[in-house]
Symmetry: C2
Subunit: 185 residues, 2 copies
């Protein structure tokens, strides 16, 4: 059990449908089994609870991400592993959140879940890419709104090539290399 350890923030970023939730849920499960308290801050749930009324302009998206960052930081400084799984498209605000979290001594690991738009449009689980590409959805990240991929993510999972299992192993391996979890996790 690692209750007395410092918490950290595991920050997923990637386009809609890239696999952020698909990866974050089993990673959370693995960390819970290793004795950590883990909280997943899902993008949609956080919007409902903390950001109702905000839209999808850069300013509003940034505000939403700052709020997720604030809550993740509160959790991490109290020993919890806070996993965030919001698109978080803008580089500057992701870096701002990293700065705030690490300033208080908690760890921060950025996971970039990459996948080409073409593959996402083909999968199109929620049918949103088809609509976005047809111009029917405004401010759709990666189509009609920017997505700034991380330049130096702590770990990248390419969901069009890597299996979920490979992704999980790579993330846990990165956390161990960063000394945020023991090698045996």
């Amino acid at each position: 059990m690692h209750m007395s350890d410092k918490g950290f923030v595991l920050w997923f970023t990637g386009l809609s449908g890239s696999g952020k939730s698909t990866l974050s849920v089993p990673v959370a499960e693995r960390l819970r089994k290793a004795g950590y308290r883990v909280e997943i801050l899902d993008g949609d749930e956080v919007r409902t609870n903390l950001s109702k009324g905000l839209g999808f302009s850069k300013e509003d998206r940034d505000t939403n991400i700052r709020r997720i960052g604030f809550v993740a930081e509160l959790l991490a400084k109290n020993g919890v592993v806070a996993i965030t799984a919001a698109i978080s498209p803008y580089r500057d605000v992701r870096e701002e959140v990293r700065g705030k979290v690490t300033r208080h001594g908690a760890g921060f690991c950025e996971v970039y879940v990459s996948c080409p738009i073409g593959v996402l449009a083909e999968r199109d689980v929620k049918g949103l890419y088809k609509k976005a590409l047809a111009g029917e959805v405004k401010n759709f990240t990666g189509v009609s709104d920017p997505y700034e991929a991380p330049l130096t993510p702590d770990v990248t999972v390419a969901s069009d090539h890597d299996t979920v299992e490979q992704g999980i192993e790579r993330i846990i391996g990165t956390l161990a290399r960063m000394r945020l979890v023991p090698e045996t996790t």
Copy 2:
């Protein structure tokens, strides 16, 4: 150390200047010394980080309180003692938050810090009551905006009669009686 215990929410409510922060800070300190992880969610700090842009209508105040409640609940379900010190003037939304927190098995203790308006206006640490009573501040709780005192708070501290030390003891005693902390805390 009580790292593995369930967390709980210690919810202060009371007028501006009634003594919520004056009490919450030493109570937090006492609980930290007893081994708890404790986070104080101060009303002003939360407004800055989670509720920028919200005003002081009932709807906006309720939204702000729901957000504080959401964060307090996240902390409490992860073993942290979340202390909130916002005015939280409306009864229905306080009860709504209590319902959500306890639904997930975390404890909830409401502390009513009472003080007559006359005494607060005399103290007037921030000079706000004078302005409010002169009609210069709109939506000032207790003067030009409602404050609904709890009907059945878990504990009441009357800051015009009780000393800070008496208040702390009564709050810790209540937490022990509610079995949220051990008798020895």
